[in-house]
Structure formats: structure tokens, C-alpha cells
Symmetry: C4
Subunit: 296 residues, 4 copies
């Protein structure tokens, strides 16, 4: 049920946007390619998920010099197979919706196009070979499929908590941004280009990597004053960065606590809510609670 509702809603949204054919083979094709409420659509999504992952694995493996030298002869044909598959998929998607242009201009329409176009472009015009990198955008196609699988209770609950705290996190981020701007500039003035702080933006980059406790170590303070400032930043930074954790934890705890309380029971006589799940009698008026018994 939980799984069904969002995907059905999404099916409805897509039908509104791109136009669902009324009947015929286009209706059947549409059901497979765009709908997730049907078992055929779900199986197609699973197949697509596997194909995208495989094509990404090839792109990733191809980027490893060691593997591309050894298996280069295998990667080429595989890449072409995926390209042809994605082309066919794209054409079929265009065919089965009633407003193909609208689909082609949509976010996922463009992503679907970019999944195979660069390979053709590199073939026709060798000077466009650098476009091959764009193929990694196929990753984004996973989100389409992934989105459905994630619409579980857990995902929705976490998303709600993050959205509820988004304003607080924005305020927090703006304060942090001001701090790293000031500190990055101060470090640029104090340390200077001798020790890698070659410009103010570089100083800000260093300040962010320090306050987020990442600390790459590619740029580090070397003067006594610079190290003192960095020390203060690190200590206070930790206190500051406790804030987002606090915000998220608070939202989650209060939301979950309310949800659990709401799931508790209410007396039918005095309407006192919050009866324990293992109570036989109302804790307020002593009336017997209906349909109960130990729930383990």
C-alpha cells in the first residue's frame, strides 16, 4: 500500500504531463515504459536498472588504464550495445507518449538523450571525443528507477525530517559561509602565497575543509599566528558543526516520538489518548478498553 500510493501518484503525474494513449499497442508500450503500478512496468524498471548499472560498470572500468588496456577490445562492442539499447528505448518512449516533444524537453528526456548521443557524436566527429565523459550522466537515469524503490516509509520519514529542518540548516549554512569567508581571508593575509594560500578563494577552500573537519592537508598553516588561528577554528568549528547534527536529531526524535504517541490508543469513554499498547483499562477513568489484550 505504502509502496503503491506514491508510484500510482507518479504514474498519474506522468500521464498528465506527457499524455497517456487511450488504447492500442502504444497504450501497452506506455504501460511498460512509464507505469510502475503494473507488473510489466515494474519488471521493465528492474531490467533497465540492471542495464544502466552494467553500462556504468563498463564506463568506470574503461576509465581504469589497467583494465582498458587489457579488456579494451571487449569494452568497445559493449559500449555500442548499450548505446543502441538506449537509442531504441528513447525512440520507443517518444513513440508511445501523446506529446513526444514535451517528453523530449523534460529533465529525464534530456538525460535519456545524453545517455547515447555522445557516443554517436564521437564517432562522427573525432574532435568531439571529449564528450564521451558526458556518458556518466547515465548515472542520473538510475534516480528515475531508484526513486520508486525508495518511496518506502523510511525514506519519506527521513525526507520529512530534512525538509522540516531545511530552513534551520539554511540559516546555519549562511552563518558558516560568513565565517569561512572571514577566516579564509584572514589566513590569506596571515600565511600568504608562500605556504599555499595563493588567493582568497583558496583560503576559503582551506577554511571549509578545516571547519568541516576534513583536513586534506594539501594546504596547511606554517606560521605561529596561522596555526593559532587554525587551532581556534578547529575547536570552535566543532562546536558550530554540532548544530546540524542537533537540528536533524531533534526533528527526527520529535517527529518519531509524535508518530509513536499518535499510534498509541485512546479510551472510548473519557477520550484520554495515549493508552499504553498493553493496557486493559483506561489509565484515567478506569473504563475497560475495547479490542485489546497483550500485544506482546
Amino acid at each position: 500500500m505504502v509502496q503503491e500510493t506514491p508510484s500510482t501518484k507518479r504514474d498519474h503525474d506522468i500521464a498528465e504531463a506527457f499524455g497517456r494513449p487511450e488504447q492500442g499497442w502504444r497504450r501497452s508500450l506506455y504501460a511498460v515504459m512509464f507505469e510502475t503500478g503494473t507488473s510489466a512496468g515494474r519488471r521493465f524498471d528492474q531490467l533497465l536498472f540492471v542495464v544502466i548499472l552494467a553500462s556504468l560498470a563498463v564506463v568506470m572500468a574503461d576509465s581504469v588504464a589497467f583494465l582498458s588496456q587489457r579488456l579494451g577490445g571487449l569494452f568497445g562492442p559493449l559500449e555500442w550495445a548499450f548505446t543502441v539499447l538506449f537509442t531504441i528505448e528513447y525512440v520507443l518512449r517518444l513513440l508511445c507518449v501523446r506529446r513526444p516533444l514535451r517528453y523530449a524537453m523534460s529533465f529525464y528526456g534530456v538525460v535519456d538523450l545524453l545517455a547515447f548521443l555522445p557516443t554517436y557524436a564521437a564517432l562522427l566527429t573525432p574532435s568531439l571525443a571529449f564528450l564521451i565523459g558526458i556518458r556518466v550522466l547515465r548515472l542520473l537515469r538510475i534516480f528515475r528507477v531508484f526513486k520508486l524503490r525508495l518511496f518506502t516509509e523510511e525514506y519519506l520519514m527521513m525526507a520529512r525530517a530534512l525538509r522540516a529542518s531545511s530552513r534551520k540548516i539554511m540559516v546555519f549554512l549562511s552563518v558558516v559561509l560568513l565565517i569561512v569567508l572571514v577566516m579564509g581571508t584572514v589566513m590569506y593575509v596571515v600565511e600568504g602565497p608562500r605556504y599555499g594560500f595563493t588567493s582568497i578563494p583558496v583560503g576559503v577552500y582551506w577554511a571549509i575543509s578545516t571547519i568541516a573537519t576534513v583536513g586534506f592537508g594539501d594546504i596547511t598553516p606554517h606560521t605561529a599566528l596561522g596555526r593559532l588561528i587554525a587551532s581556534v577554528m578547529m575547536l570552535l568549528g566543532w562546536g558550530i558543526l554540532a548544530v546540524p547534527t542537533g537540528i536533524v536529531t531533534m526533528e527526527m526524535t520529535l517527529a518519531e516520538s509524535a508518530r509513536r504517541r499518535a499510534a498509541a490508543r485512546t479510551c472510548q469513554v473519557c477520550l484520554t489518548p495515549g493508552q499504553d499498547h498493553d493496557a486493559n483499562y483506561c489509565k484515567h477513568c478506569g473504563a475497560e478498553l475495547a479490542g485489546q489484550g497483550r500485544e506482546a
Copy 2:
């Protein structure tokens, strides 16, 4: 309302401090430059915000060797334009308050002065060119404007939580300071100058970067004993640093929890909000509460 109260209060504080003119063009000018409750003042703040950001962007871009070589001819005139603008603003601010000296001596008065003075100083005495770096203090001017925009519910709530936990965080920081002093000294004795621990202050700097989990890696232990001590520090350090997160989360959760409970139920007779969800009678006037229990 929430937005209004603090800015109006701030307007009042400034009027007290610098003296608000009673009438005439100075009164109008004052409203624009110092007051945030009026729409003219708000628009002036927005404009100032943009100009400061632009001037900072130029200062930052000018610090990047790559950009300053290419666009140096553009940055010079822009810098002078900003300097003149800030000079005019400063003079106008001096003119429209009744106690100009008091404004000139205030924190933002000095910051406003430092926003343009270095550029003139560098022009008159080339040997003072290093003062140019002071221009970055313009950043501080953003706080003046920013402060107003941040006086939202979220900001106040977070500031309250931080202030409520400030004593606990101070106690925590003093314990951490003692630990890093001891550990920094121990590492200086154990590792010595061979491996970068050239003095006790450097050891303390290393201890802070380790306990705050930043770990730059510019100085690292190389002896077996030093690595053992570092390992213990890292493991225990994590436990210790869980404390500020715990403090902030606790304060936020309890404050927000109380706020939500207070916002929950309201008496229909005396309109006192914040009746407990299990109350039968209003805690303020004693009237019976209707339809009890439901908290939704």
C-alpha cells in the same frame, strides 16, 4: 511581526546611541541609512548588501593571480568606484546622526571607515600598500545587513539553544584545552623535533587538529610510542567530542519539545495556550477544557 520586533528594537537602540534627528532632510536621510522598519531603509540595506558583495568579489578576484593579470585594468577603476561610494556613505552617515563622534567611535563606525581608508592610504604613501589587505574587513559590514535578515524565528531559536548551552560548552572547552596541553607536551617529548614536533606549541596545535578529527597530516607521529598515544587520543577524543553534539542536541530537543507542547492546546474561556494534552481543567482559569485529549 516576528521580523518587525527585533529590527524595530534595534532601530530604537541605534536612535538612543547616535541620536535620531527630529525633522528635516537629516530625519529622512537617517530613516534611509539607519532604520530597518521603513521600506526605504530596507531597500537601502538590500542595495548596500549587493554593493558590499560586489566589492568583495572584486577584492577576492584581484587576489587570484590568473584573474588579476587578465582583468587588472578592470579591477582598478571598480575598486575606486567602491571606495568613493563607501566614502560618500560614511559622510552621509556622519551628517545625519545627532552625535557623529559617537557613531565614528562605534564598532560599525570604525569598520565603515576601514572599508575605504586603506585605498586612499596606499595611493598617498605607496609604502602603505600592504594595508590594502585591510579592505577585506568590508566583510564585517555584511554582518550589519545580514543581522537583520537573520532575525527570523529559526535564528533566534538556534541562538537561544547555543546560549543556553554556552556554559556547558565553556566547561567542555576548558577540559579539552587541558587535555590538548598535556597531550601536545607529551608528544613533543616523545616524538621531538625530528618528526616536526619542533616545540610544545606545535605539539598542542597537532593535538587540537587530531582531537577535532581534522588531521591535516602536516605533522604526524612516526615512533611506535607516539602512534600508540595518538591512537588512544583519537579513540577517546571521539568520545569526548560527542559531548558538544550531545549538549546542543539536548538543548534544542528540550526547547523545541516545550515550544510544541506549549503551542498545542488552548483554553476556550481565557484563551491561555499550552494546556497539557492530558489536562481536564485550564491551568490558568480553572475552566473545564472541552473535548479533551486530542492533541493531533
Copy 3:
């Protein structure tokens, strides 16, 4: 009691799986080697714990060049002593269960075998010397003993909290995985092999070490765009990584809060514990609760 229940349960599970002999010396041996409810079994576990630790200490010390050169003559015989001991233990375990094959094929059966087999293999076939490394799997044997000692209330409570939040953490990890896949690829395209981003998998490795705030610094962005992307990742990454802390804290707080509330008040009539602090009547039997309210 708390200590007893799980170990007894585990004894029962093992008896089911491997077959407990009914009587004779095999029954006595079985009690010592497999049962933890008896004092002999517990003492055997403690002895085994010490022997495993000692054998591990020798393996670890042997890996340190400095120590192995000096004490190499000592480590050899010690290693053989441990190997013989573990062999005897393995044979005895095989002898005293009723289904020895089932034990030999079980997880701990294989681990027990691997604890001594590599030493013999290296002796017979010198070319198999690299197998010596497998000896470190003896570490896993500690879990068998350790598991029992950990079955305290604290461990169970933490394990429950982690299990309760495991689905949420899985959802969270899958989102993080998608993000690091995208960001690792982007950085590979932006920075390229010049600055260490030699392949997409390496980019993903960098993205993980950055988003987890580890920041080794072996690979770091050097281009302006790469540093900008890294900065955004670090700032947003912190927000994202506040989520697992939030999840674990929430589960723990709610679980412990419920446990403490349940332990609070007890009905004097039916002895049901966990009456709410504001209850007038026992929720189980409906008897009036005396001296209400005090929860201390």
C-alpha cells in the same frame, strides 16, 4: 540472570546444531568446550581467550621488522606451540560432538581449522608461505568467546537500537552511494589524471573519504572548479552525515525513554509495572493506584 539467558540459549542452539552427546567422557568434554552455562566451560573460554590473545600478540610482534630480527628465535617455537594447541583443540571439538562434519562445515569450524592449517602448509610446501597471513583470522576466534562476555544489557540495548535503525541506515547509505558515484565521476572529469584522479573508481574513493570527513589528502583537487565542487561537497556532506547520528540517537533515546518509563510505577494489586506517571487506575486490572503522581 541477564548474563545467563543468552548463553544458555546459545548453548541450546549449538546442542541442536552439532548434537550434544548424552553421557560419558564426550559429554564432559562437550560441556567444557561448547557450553558456557557451566563453570568449567566458562573457565575454558577464559583460558582460550588468553591463548588466542597471546598467539595474536606473537603474530603482530612478528610483523614488526625491529622485533622479528631481535626475537625471531623466540617467535618460531611459540608459533608452533600455539599451532599444536589449536590442532588439539580442533580434534577434541570434532571428537565430542555427535555430528562432527556439521561442525567442520560451520563458520567457526572453518575459522578453527584456518587457525593452524597455514602453518603446516607453509612447512610442507615453502611456496605456500604467503598463506601465513591467514593466521590473522585467529582474530575471528575471539568473537566466539567475546560474544558471550558482551551479552550484557548494554550490548543488547545498543544492538537493538542499531537493528531498529538498520533499514533507515540502509536507505541513507544508498543515497550516499549515489552521491559519491556522481561526485567521483564529476571530479574525474573535472580534475583528471594530472592531479591523481586517475580513474572513476579512484574519484569515488576520494569522494567517500571527503564526504566521511576523513580527508586523507593523498588525492586533492587543484583546479578552481574542483575545489569549488569539493567545498560544496564538504559543507553539504556534513549536513548529510548528520543523518546517521540522528537516526541512532533517536532510536536510542526513544527506546531508553520507554524502558525507563516502563520501569517507573507498579500496580500494588496485580503487580503490573510501567503505570504512567499520571495514571489514576492500573491500566491492567483497573485497580485504583495509591499515592499517585510521584515518579521521583
Copy 4:
């Protein structure tokens, strides 16, 4: 009051341990040197605090080559002044207690002795000059004074929360120790001495610095398998390290929540506790609450 109780208790403990003289100049001296409930004792503690800090500042400054070359002539006499002061203090402490040997053998007795002994030793036997490093143990003397100043409500509350969660944290640390032992050994086998993993202990040191998100970067994986293992460690490690934060936050939240609830009010008629601090009437029975009114 809060300040008084613990220090008085500590005074009592010390009187028990070392024997408080009954009268005479030794009684007065004892009051100054050991008691914190008297104003003379408190002022002595403050003076001692300043002297220790000053002596530490000299030790730290002396370790900086730059400063010791320039101000070396100043540091020598200062160091001797502190040494003589600490000697006098130690002798006086010995004189004014009734069981001087017991004091001399106590923890702080030894620390007090080590605060000045190394300087004399280095003077008498130049070959003992390396003992000078022991002077930094003077840091520990600060704890004696510091302890008193920290016995505030905040410190006690945090210490209680940490102590309440100490068993959970011990369980957690033992699990983490097992993990880093296994992972450190695995990385030693996978990466080997080529990439800095020269022994199993070094591998464990690396595993700790990685799982604690410190990531010095002095040793990093270079093989594909090593990087894969490191990635999994970092991602799961973050989840694992959310646990201590969760434990501390939980203990603090529940303790503070209980404290605040206990501080709420109880109706004198129906004994319902937890009346809001601004309630005029009992929320349960409607009886007027005594001695109230708005508490702001």
C-alpha cells in the same frame, strides 16, 4: 551553595587522608594550603593557578627555538624562581599535615615533587638534563586547582551523564577495537610494506585514524583492493561512530528532561505532579495551586 558542597566534601576527604592539625600555625597554614572552603584558601588557589600557568608559559616558550635564542637569558632565572617557589610550597605542605609521608606518597604529592626535582637533578648531574622534560608534569598540578573551579552544576551534570554511559561506551570501544584489529591486519596483508603498512601495529594505527575520521594521510592505501576496503570502512565507520554521540546525547537528554520535570510543581489536592510553572490551577482537578502566579 552548589559551589560549597563539593569543595567542603573534598576538604573533608583530604583532612581524613592527610590529617588536619587541630590548632596553632600549622592549622592556619593547613587552611590556606589545603582547604578551599575558606577565603584564604581560595585566594591561595587562585595565586597558585597563576604561578603554575606562568611557569608553564615559560616552559612552552623555552621549547620554541626562536624565543629561547632571543629570551634565553630571561627564561633561566624565571625557571629557577618557579623551582624555588614550588620547593617552598612542597615543604610547607609537608610541614602542615599530620601525616606528611602519606601526602608525599599520594598522587598530587608525587606530582608536586616532580614539579621542581628535575631542575635540581639537571643542575647536579648534567647527564640528567633530559629529565627537564618532566617539568611539563606541572600541568597536572592545574587539575588540582581547576577541579574546584569546575565543581559547578554544569560539570557535575556532564560528569554524571558520562559516568552513566561509561559502560555502554566501554562495550562500544571494545567492539571498535576488534574491528580496527581485524581491519589493520587485513590492510597489512593487502597493501604491505610498499605503501607504508610496515607492520600489523602500523596497520591498526592507520585503521584507528581512518575509523575516527581523522585521516592524517601519512599512510594511505594505493592498491585497488585496499582503497575498496578503506571506502567500506569509512562509510560503515561513520555509522559506527554515530553510536557514542547517540549514547552521550541520550543520557544527557533523559537526565536533563527528568531534572526539569522534577523541578515542575505538584498539586496539593490531588497530588498530580508536573504542573506547568505558569499554571494557576491544577490541570487535573482544577484546585487552585498555592504560592504561584506567572513566573515569567
